[in-house]
């Protein structure tokens, strides 16, 4: 039996040895030959675009460091890039006005990793949002995290390098940011190199020339309220649709040489808004003229919201009250175009040992004492290990049925000064017929004065 088995084995072995079809190539090419041909093709693709490339990078809202993830806003960034044969790339970025007009040159490499990769291997504009130093990237993701952007990408199209068309898909190796290279046209190149991204930054900045909180875009007879969040790079549109319902949409924006683009269009019936261009400030009328898809529009200031959210004031109060926490504002009131108008950052308090304590932020604490809300500054304790309440005001809040809210002050905590930024803030709180509340994010509200929309304060929930 054993012998038979051995004979079978021997025959099988011989049979296998005789198979002559073994080949380690595909179409006569070894793996190394195919890899180097593919890398050369990718390289040629990058350098063969006569007017360069537009590179769009969209994050997933997740960033990694040390293998640990952090979450934050999802953003889309736009770059203009020109690659040379000598391993150099020069680029323009819409991340910050300082990078919008002057190209910066650095190195790049196309090499073989687990997939063919495009690596921006020395520091460039692309690395700034990746930088783990929060003083460089200004990332809200936290210490050690950028914005979830990448600088090392894998080519992710499922076709051969030679078959790639005018767009190339990439995926970031650390944070999985989606990259897309789009071959630029001559007009786009001219716009980029002419510094038009910086012009658009300036145009967007002109929105701040409108001193009212509410900005009203009128386009083809339709009104939209628009709100820009320049940090998270989003724009929020609010409008009333054909059936009379309040509609709101928030989209990411990015700035191309040829205009500001939205990550997805705003659709209102037959009107579709994909971006904004040619923002021009008209000082005489204090308005901004814009073009949207070939149509001309005007942005003006408004004293009241297009549609008041009837539940907003009560929701604002309840968000802190229900969690037994408070709303805080670092800069206090914004008045007539001036941030931190009352310079609350200069406020000081004294502890029981008479040490001078520095300002931390302004807070509104519902039911700080049962039935009494607290409004005032909060200070850093002398040991710099925690926060101290030293002085402030006590009062109440009443949400009105039409959606605004009214404050009252009837007590004092400690000995609040009767002059200065803290005092002015308290007076402002009870001034002018109350406030509108605008929900700007999961934990943020803007509170806008009802009689003068040039006065507002931005609150963040302490959680």
């Amino acid at each position: 039996m054993k012998k038979t088995f051995l004979y079978i084995l021997a025959v099988m072995t011989i049979g296998a040895g005789c198979r002559k079809t073994y080949n380690d190539t595909i179409q006569g090419q070894t793996p190394d030959q195919r890899v180097s041909a593919a890398l050369a093709a990718y390289q040629k693709k990058l350098t063969a675009a006569p007017y360069g490339w537009i590179f769009l990078e969209s994050t997933t809202g997740i960033a990694y460091n040390q293998g640990v993830s952090a979450t934050g806003p999802q953003i889309t960034l736009a770059y203009y890039m020109q690659f040379t044969d000598s391993g150099r790339v020069s680029m323009i970025s819409d991340f910050d006005p300082s990078m919008a007009a002057t190209p910066k040159t650095s190195s790049y490499n196309v090499k073989e990793l687990t997939r063919p990769a495009l690596i921006f291997d020395t520091y460039s504009y692309l690395h700034v949002p990746c930088d783990p130093d929060p003083n460089v990237s200004h990332s809200p993701f936290g210490f050690g995290y950028g914005w979830g952007t990448d600088f090392e990408f894998s080519f992710s199209d499922s076709v051969a390098a030679t078959a790639l068309g005018d767009t190339i898909q990439l995926i970031g190796n650390l944070n999985s940011a989606q990259g897309m290279l789009i071959k630029a046209t001559q007009a786009q190149q001219t716009a980029y190199l002419g510094g038009n991204v910086l012009n658009l930054f300036t145009g967007l900045g002109n929105l701040n020339n409108i001193l009212q909180y509410f900005k009203r875009l009128s386009l083809g007879g339709v009104s939209y309220e628009i709100r820009i969040n320049a940090i998270n790079r989003t724009v929020t549109f609010t409008w009333i649709d054909g059936s009379g319902n309040i509609r709101t949409a928030t989209v990411s924006y990015y700035i191309l040489g040829t205009g500001i683009q939205f990550s997805s269009p705003i659709v209102n019936g037959s009107q579709t808004i994909t971006g904004i261009d040619n923002l021009a400030w008209n000082a005489g009328s204090s308005t901004l003229t814009v073009s949207i898809g070939g149509q001309s529009g005007t942005i003006t200031g408004a004293n009241a919201p297009l549609a008041v959210n009837a539940g907003a004031a009560a929701a604002w109060y309840q968000a802190a009250n229900a969690n037994n926490t408070y709303w805080y504002s670092v800069n206090g009131y914004h008045i007539n175009g001036v941030d931190n108008a009352y310079r609350v950052d200069t406020l000081t308090g004294r502890d029981t040992a008479n040490n001078v304590l520095p300002y931390y932020y302004m807070i509104y604490f519902p039911n700080f004492n049962p039935g009494i809300d607290f409004f005032g500054p909060i200070f850093i304790n002398n040991a710099r290990t925690g926060l101290d309440l030293v002085w402030g005001w006590g009062g109440g809040f009443a949400a009105q049925t039409d959606g605004h809210g009214v404050f009252s002050i009837s007590y004092t905590f400690g000995t609040p000064p009767s002059t200065g930024g803290g005092f002015q803030s308290a007076q402002q709180l009870v001034n002018g017929g109350g406030y509108y509340f605008v929900n700007t994010g999961p934990k943020t509200y803007d509170m806008v004065n009802k009689t003068d929309a040039r006065i507002w304060i931005s609150w963040t929930l302490a959680l």
């Binding site: 190394d32 190195s107 020395t122 520091y123």
Partner: protein, 299 residues
């Protein structure tokens, strides 16, 4: 055994059959070397020439300043250096960290032999989950990693950043030295209380308990090289402060007679005798040259 004697001829037969039948197989000759063999082949720039002439030829050191995937801790958010900072950083190393060793040993031979053969540069620091950051790393005497190249500056106003770079360099080279010849084990028993939570301890507090920096409190090896780097890289305080002169650190430790001062002094004595016996280097003379090189290099 019996079974084996039967199998053996069979195996021989099989092998023979295999050879005969495979005679006509053609393996494609490799005309293309494996991709990436011998490192990246990116076009040479002025930076590459500078590195070759100033570091590779005299010291046999390769400098990796371009991002090499997987070379640094993965998956961490670290950025590569700005090209504009690479040559200034290398020049500072050559003038302020390497030159004193050359002067004291008489030639570049000492550094040529002991400098790690790979110097890796990163633009940012590496941020750890505990809130600390890596400024440098030494790996088994073969590679040295310097972070935060993008913050490098030789301006007097930024002297803290400069000193931090030199401190990192001397710290990592200290590791290389003791990885070659170990320091007297008696050093490890001078202090007790090494802790992984060193980052919660302010430097001034660490000094009072006999550690020259808070990081020295993390482990004896770190303690030893922090002593070396604090003595070699400390300098007059600029506007940005930090990495003060060694004498000032001793004052913070509590001055003569205090536990902190006396403990650090005992460590100093071992460092000095280690440099004399292991490397035949007069540590105080080396320190004097390091200081004057640093002061003269500031702009």
């Amino acid at each position: 055994m019996k079974l084996l004697s039967r199998i053996l001829p069979l195996l021989c037969l099989t092998a023979l059959a295999g050879l005969i039948s495979c005679k006509k197989d053609k393996f494609t000759p490799i005309t293309t070397p494996p991709v990436g063999l011998g490192g990246d082949n990116s076009p040479k720039t002025a930076i590459d020439s500078f590195i070759y002439d100033s570091l590779t030829v005299p010291y046999n050191v390769a400098v990796y300043y371009k991002w090499l995937p997987g070379e640094l801790d993965f998956p961490s958010d670290i950025t590569p250096p700005d090209e504009a900072k690479v040559i200034p950083m290398c020049k500072a190393l050559l003038n302020v960290a390497y030159a004193p060793y050359n002067k004291i040993t008489g030639s570049t031979l000492f550094l040529r032999k002991y400098l790690p053969k790979v110097l890796e540069l990163a633009g940012s620091a590496e941020y750890l989950a505990n809130g600390a950051i890596f400024l440098g790393q030494a790996e088994g005497g073969t590679a040295m990693l310097l972070y935060m190249v993008n913050s490098f500056s030789r301006q007097t106003a930024d002297s803290n950043t400069f000193k931090q770079t030199m401190h990192t360099m001397h710290h990592e080279f200290g590791h290389i030295l003791h990885q070659n010849i170990y320091y007297p084990v008696a050093y490890k028993t001078i202090s007790t209380g090494y802790t992984g939570n060193w980052y919660n301890v302010p430097d001034a507090t660490a000094r009072q308990s006999g550690f020259i920096t808070a990081y020295a409190e993390s482990a004896p090896d770190e303690d030893f090289v922090e002593m070396i780097s604090s003595m070699l890289a400390g300098g007059p305080n600029g506007p940005s402060g930090g990495y003060d002169e060694y004498e000032q650190l001793l004052v913070q430790a509590g001055g003569p007679g205090s536990v902190g001062y006396e403990t650090i002094k005992r460590k100093e004595a071992i460092v000095v005798s280690y440099f004399a016996s292991a490397w035949n280097i007069d540590f105080y003379a080396l320190r004097a040259i390091c200081r004057s090189s640093f002061v003269n290099y500031l702009q």
